[in-house]
Structures are given as C-alpha cells and as structure tokens.
Subunit: 519 residues, 2 copies
C-alpha cells in the first residue's frame, strides 16, 4: 500500500470508527455468536478483501466494552485521544528496549509517569526524577521477582554477620539461594486478585490466601497477616512478599494498609506491594484519598500499581507500576554484564526500561497517557471519575428502595454488589446463593445486560452476589436505570417461576463462574 | 472530544503520518538529542495543545526504524496495513483475557496463527485446530515455565514408580518441588539471545551458556550439550530446558537442531525450545527451509517462536509462539480452580488465552497479522524477504571486493558481519579488535549510519565485528551502497588518523557495547 492509498484507507478507517461510536448505543452489549463462529466463517487462506470483513466478521464478535450499558468486570474506557495516540505510536513503531531505541519513548514515559505521581498524590520517592524510586508502564509481576532477590540479598547480608551492606550483598551465594528460595512465601487475602496466586505459580513459590471477615468489609487485617507470618517462620519458612489491595475485585474493599505495613516492617525479608489496579486512579480525587488510605500507601508501599486502562480513560494496556527502590528491579532483571553497565544507566540519567521489566521490547504507550492527560487535564479526569461514583450512589438508592434486594457490601467508588433476598420470607444462605445463581443465569441470557457474578468468601459466610461495575465513560444514569429495571423484572419472573429456572442453572453457572476468577 | 472532532483529528493524524513517510528518507536515521532532552523541554503540567507537540517534541526524539538506511539490531518493519489494524483494534479496545471478553479477539488469533503454521511449513501438531498443540501471540518466557512444571511432573511420575501417568502427575508434592526446583538447569550457547539468561534470572534458576566453535560457524553442537548435561547430572543437577537458536543475533547461526534434539530426547525431564525470533519468518521461503533446518525443528521442537514484528511486516509487537503440547502451558499457568474448569476450555473449543500467557489481559494483535497477511499474501511476504536476502548478497560482493575488509562469518539471510583488516599488514587479533572498535566509534558519531557492533566469542577466538542487518521494507540497494560507502570512507580516515581516533574510543565503545547484549 502506498502513501496515497494509506491516506484513503486511513480516512475510511476514521469514518468507520466514527460510525461505530455513533451507533454503539443501538447495539447490544454482548455479541450473539457461538464458539467457533469466526473459524467457521473465514476461509483459512490469506488472500481476499479486508476492511469490509472487519465489519462483517469481526465487529459482530466484539463484546462492546465501550457501550454505556457495559457493567461487567471493570470498565475498560478508551477515549478518542487514546485512539489517536495509538495511530501516532504505531506510525513510528520501534521496540523501545533502551533509551537509544528512541529517546522520545523512554523520556515521555518518565515525564508522564511523574505527572501521575503528582496527580495521584503519591510520595515524591516514586518520582523517576527522585533518582531512587520510579515508575514504568509495566506488569507488576516484577515486584515479586524484585522482592525475591531483595530477600535473598537480606539473607546474604545476615549470613555475613552484617559485614556486607544490602547494596554490597548483590552476589547471592548459589547455596544460600538454593536452600532458601524454596522456603519463600507470598501473602494475600482470599480477595486478592488471582494474579497474586498466578505470580507465585509462575515463580514456583508458595502463596497463602489469608481469610477476611465480613465484619471488616472483606478487608485484610494486620493481625491476620502477623499470625500467618509467625506461623510460617516457626515452620522454618521465609515470608518475603505481601500484597495489600486498595479496591478488591469482588467488593472494592480496602485492606488495612498501615496494619499490614507494620507487620512487613518487622521482617527485613518482606516487601509490600499495593495492588490498586482498578481503584488507584481515584486518588486523583482529594476526597477519596483518606478512605483509600493514600497516606498509608505512601508510608509503607515498596511498590504500587494502578491501571489507566480500566477507569482511567486510556486504552488497554497502560498499567502504571511504581517502585520505592528502582534497584530492587534492576538487580533482579538487568542481564547486562557488569563491565558493560553504564553509570548513566544505573543512575537513571538514561533509563533502559528493559531492565525494569520482564520482556526486552516495549511499545510506545506513554503517548496515550500524554494525549489523554493533556486533553482532559486533571479536572476532566476528576469529572469522569466523579460521574461513576455518582451513578453508584444513584444505584444504591434504587437497590435500597427495592424490597426484594439487598446490598451485600458497602458500595465502593463505582462498584456495587447486590443480591436477591425475597421480602417476607426466610431462606438459608445456601438457598439464597442458589436463588441468586438462578437470577444471574437469567441475566447472562439477556443480550443487553452484562453483569459479573462473584462468590464472596469470608470467615463468617460464603455469599453469591452480583457485581454492578460502573465508570464507563459513555454510561449515563439512564443506562444504569435501564439495566437495573431489567434486573428487577428478571428477579420478579424468577420468583414466579423458581422451578423452571432451576433446570437451566448448571451449565450456565459453571461457565460464567469461571469468569469471576479473572475479573 | 466528540465524534466529529475525532473525525477531524483522525484525518489530521492520517495526513501527519503520510507526511512523515513522504519525508522519511530526507531525515537522518538517528535522532540528534541528548539524555533529558524531553524532560527538559516539556513543562510537567498536563494542560496544553497536543498534536503539534508530537511534531515538535516527540518526532525529533524518534530513532527512525522505518528508514531505508536503518541497519542496526534487526529491522522492525511496519506497514500501512498494520497501522490501520492498530486503528481498528484500539477503537474496540478490550482486555481480551478470555473468549467471552470478545470472541473475535480469541478466534482471529487462532485463525491467523494457524495460517502461519501453513505459511511457515510448521508441523500440523502446532495448529490450534489440532486440539493438542497450538499457537499464541505471546512471549516465549512461558516455555521455560511450562518446561519446569513438566519436569516436576516427570519426577513425580518417576517417584511414583510409574504408577502415575504424566497427565495424572499434575499435583507435584511440595517436598518434591522444593527439593528439585533448585537443581533445574537451563542450557543455551554463548550466542543465545540474552533473554535466555534473563528467563533463568526471572525464575531464579541456573543457565549455562555453552561454548561454540568458529569452525561450526558459531552454531551449538549436540556433543557440547550432551557433555554439559552429563556433567550436571553427575553433579546431582536436573537438566530441564534447552534453547536451540535458528538465526542467532550476532551472526544468524543455525544451531544443530537434530543433534541437540537427540540429546533432549534422551532425558525425559528436558524440553526443547527453538528461538527463531528473527529468522523464523524466512521459513515462508521454500528455498530456506533446508538450510534453516525446518524438518529438524518440526521433529524435535517442544516450542517454537518467531517475531512478525522484526522482518515480518507487522508492527511491534507480534511474537508468534507455538507449543507441541498446550497442556504444558495450561498446567503451568491456569489458576482457575479445578471445579471451575470447563471441558471447552481445557479442550480448546474455547481457548482462554490468559491460561497460555503470563498476564491476564491482552491486546487485539491478531488483526495486524490478519490485515498484513491478507493484503500481502504469501507471495508479497516472500518478495519482501527475498529483497532483504538479495541486498545482503550485493553487500557481500561489495565487502569481498574491498581490500581492507573481511567477512567474519558466512552471511545469513539478510545479516552480514564484517570487520576492518588492513591489507598488506599484520595485526594480532587484539589489535584488530581495537582497530574495529575505533571504526565503530566513528560510525556511531555519524547521524546517517546506524550499525550495531557485536563481540563474537568462540572457543577459538573473540572477534569484535560490525553487524549490517538488512530487511527493512523501505531499504533500496542504493541505501545499502550509500551506507557501505560511508563505512569505507570512515575506515580510510581511521587508517590515516589511527592515533587521534584512539583517544575517543573508550566512552563510546562502552555505551554502545551495552546495546549488543540486547540486540
């Protein structure tokens, strides 16, 4: 394709995207396709016309995450500014693995990640310009790897009788590594995102999912962590990594960060990562900083992550990951031989982000963040976030006013969990879970309702409930009311036809329940 | 930004991209900026005009990987088709972590990855439609994790005295895991990409970089691997992962896959991954399949990867990763509780790619591959690949005809390594390395030359040479001749002013040498 043909096709693509958004609300949220729909409909030969097929074959198989009535999982807001940024980014594609690959890619990431430190109110130690900590658009899996290596350095220092400083203990003796690595333990709660357990599985280490109490609104307490840590130490194990969550997936719970942090502080081998993938962007709202325990995060977090690609108006992916000590990353991930290291690289005058992440290459993602931040500004971002919270307050009123429904946990920001509890009747918890599984099974069948279920486990109970996750930038209050009305109507039908529905529970429940794990 | 404003800005972006490519050849390949250029020039406040700043602040800091004279590292070709695909993709952004996130994303990836199996001539076992193996656009780091878990399952089966089958040995006893994991060893050669050593570092396991011989053109032999494996087993270690490379970074060497594969076959705990990140796309050329040992790869590889984002006309990133047994991935990466597993998911009727990769979310990348394959077709891809190879043959003639230059290793596809060896004079290897470091230092200073150096280590020697990596889709034979003429001219000047140049060697050499590691 030559330049003029690209100009023609580029205009056409822009028009097609405009048409998509102009008609989005007339579409159902969920696609009406069965497994294999595409494999069946496309000949397995790479020769044919293209753009039209995107409309006829691809779009019908898209779940519309940008739809105003998308309330499943968490929102994945994209903005036109973000789409435009992707156009510019892909036009200058490069693997960006070090500064010289394209200085603009590395430096714009430093600039925008530092902007976000200011916007979110994070401690200045997380500024790349601090020269000590810093931020990167990257997966937080590196936190566990950095923590493992730091723990081994701490053990190396201890083995030296304190003769070595932590910085001098870089070379971990092979025997010390072999003997201690298998004893390392990671901690989270039963409400921690499944990526915590996955990180442990990837690294071949143990993960303990600690219990939470409904009385604590499903947030992890320091005493629970302390008991587990002491128990493991007594058993000869080595606690090295704790995940504290600000805004859990199931209910938006905020763990007791100061309590957890105090436990971590007592154990030099331990590292505290704060997972605020969804809720973290809300730190842009001054009024939410205290309830989301920002001060505690700033005091205790060794690393912190939040996703701009969920509630933050930037297209997937744009996960902001900050560390208090960049050396925790570079010591664990830099494979550049020591004699080739440059003073600039180590000090961060020139950052080679490859040494801060797992992969070698990386895309030019900061441009999305730059475009969005500069066009929306802090006020624009705040306005968007407050809309989601306001929609949740309105929904809370609707649910509260509905005699047959109960709010399961305190609404968190733009997330509300509810369940069906028929008025004037008595049910066991098991019966209520069964009833709500049936309700969700009916909602799954509805093309214009997309709500995720969750099984809320605590020491006291195991409650099946339905999540209503607001915050999509195109959602209006009418969208919320419309979907809630459908939920109430389906619930009414269910209560009338309890038996009949019972029959179609199984299959649906299992397939759908599988999604909960990865919300 | 509303729809009509997006239409306006979208057209403007398309025009700006057209202007960029229309003027690309008039720009220098490398940007003329110093570290901190952007941080200094952008106010750290997210409020201002945007698009113009891309031209004034970002573009000047871009290294033009799409430039015809880009011969460093490996090419990172992007096409207009790929850019258009990114536009469509980002307009329907979604995290794509399971089939229901957007059926089109999962299924188009299956379709296109299966197309590539046919185009590259890979064994049908690698087809997703085989139900046993399959492909994914993902990092190959998962190969090492899958291999580790498979090795532990093999040990579990052995511990059971063969009572358990490999499939039944899913639950590895904690003690067996703790005792054996630290003994696991990965193998590659000194020519294996640094990501091999990085994978070991990430997993906290040992990596052995085995020696190669110049006489074998820097390719790894089976006997070398066998000796290392036997030595480690005798020392109580457990060999579990071998990397064979088809097209090494330094010289494009092709390891002796059949010899290596035979060694791996003798040890049930071992897994063979074939890294063909750069060269693998050349399997699309029938005439290159035998020299690139395709039949051996098809017989012995447990996993295989090649990057469409290097020589394959698809914008970064698009790394194709294939496994012979998909269970090796899902057993290692699926954190879905067993009772929530679905028959469909395990059998691949519905693939949840999250269980085939490290991260949860994933972008809609297959659309880039789909657009490029359908618009270029196999013939278009082959034509592009053959051009790069032809340019290399022409360069080979130029270097051979140049009295003061020597080709260091047999040219491989579109990659040629050379060094300066003054005619009619005698030098030690150390002196020649020193001389060529000076030459490269001069080339680094040239804004319109971008060539990467490499230090070629073998049992016999350690040769510093310069890589000339062709294959960029916009490269013409004139571009190759122009850059070679500059190299000859700089060499002539160097030979005249040996001393003066000697002084500016150090700094440059170190900074630049650091890049070699991550080419």
């Amino acid at each position: 394709m030559d330049i003029e043909e690209f100009r023609k096709q580029g205009y056409a693509a822009v028009d097609a995207i405009c048409e998509y958004y102009a008609t989005l609300q007339q579409r159902t949220v969920k696609p009406d396709v069965q497994p294999g729909y595409l494999i069946k409909s496309l000949p397995c030969q790479p020769f044919a016309a293209i753009a039209a097929d995107f409309q006829t074959h691809i779009l019908p198989g898209i779940t519309h995450w940008q739809h105003g009535k998308f309330f499943a999982y968490f929102p994945a807001c994209v903005t036109f500014e973000s789409i435009l940024a992707d156009m510019y980014s892909s036009s200058v594609t490069n693997p960006g693995f070090n500064w010289t690959c394209s200085p603009a890619c590395t430096e714009l990431e430093q600039v925008t990640l530092d902007w976000m430190v200011a916007i979110l109110g994070l401690d200045p130690i997380f500024l790349t310009s601090s020269g000590q900590g810093g931020g990167i658009i990257s997966s937080a899996l590196t936190a566990a790897i950095g923590a493992r290596e730091r723990a081994l350095r701490v053990l190396t220092r201890q083995a030296s009788g304190g003769a070595l400083s932590l910085d001098d203990a870089i070379d971990v003796p092979a025997q010390l590594r072999e003997e201690n690595t298998p004893k390392l333990v990671m901690y989270g709660s039963t409400q921690t995102h499944s990526l915590g357990a996955k990180a442990a599985k990837i690294l071949g280490l143990a993960f303990r999912a600690l219990p939470v109490h409904a009385a604590d609104n499903y947030a992890l307490r320091g005493a629970t962590l302390a008991a587990a840590v002491d128990e493991d130490i007594a058993a000869g194990l080595i606690p090295f990594f704790a995940i504290g969550t600000v805004g859990t997936t199931s209910t938006g719970a905020v763990d007791y960060i100061a309590e957890i942090g105090a436990v971590v502080r007592r154990h030099p081998t331990m590292f505290l990562h704060i997972d605020s993938a969804w809720a973290g962007v809300a730190y842009a709202l001054p009024e939410e900083r205290e309830p989301l325990r920002l001060a505690e995060v700033n005091e205790y977090a060794d690393s912190f992550c939040t996703n701009m690609h969920k509630w933050g108006l930037v297209g997937f992916d744009c996960s902001l990951f900050y560390v208090r000590e960049r050396r925790d990353l570079t010591e664990a991930l830099d494979v550049t031989p020591a004699f080739l290291r440059t003073k600039e690289g180590d000090e961060g005058n020139v950052i080679d982000y490859r040494n801060w992440q797992l992969a070698l290459g990386r895309r030019f993602r900061s441009i999305k963040l730059w475009f969005v931040l500069r066009s929306y500004g802090v006020e624009g971002l705040q306005k968007h976030l407050r809309e989601g919270i306001e929609h949740c307050r309105e929904l809370e009123n609707l649910v509260t006013a509905s005699p047959n429904f109960e709010i399961v946990a305190p609404p968190s920001l733009s997330l509300l969990d509810f369940r069906l509890v028929p008025a004037n009747t008595s049910h066991t918890e098991a019966e209520l879970n069964d009833l709500n599984r049936d309700l969700h099974a009916r909602l799954v069948m509805h093309p214009d309702v997309h709500l995720t279920q969750t099984l809320l486990k605590s020491v006291e109970s195991e409650i099946f409930c339905i999540r209503f996750a607001m915050g999509q930038s195109r959602t209006t209050l009418d969208d919320v009311k419309t979907v809630w009305a459908i939920v109430e109507a389906e619930a009414a039908r269910l209560l009338l036809k309890r038996k009949a529905v019972g029959e179609l529970t199984n299959g649906v429940e299992v397939v759908d329940a599988a999604e909960v794990v990865v919300v």
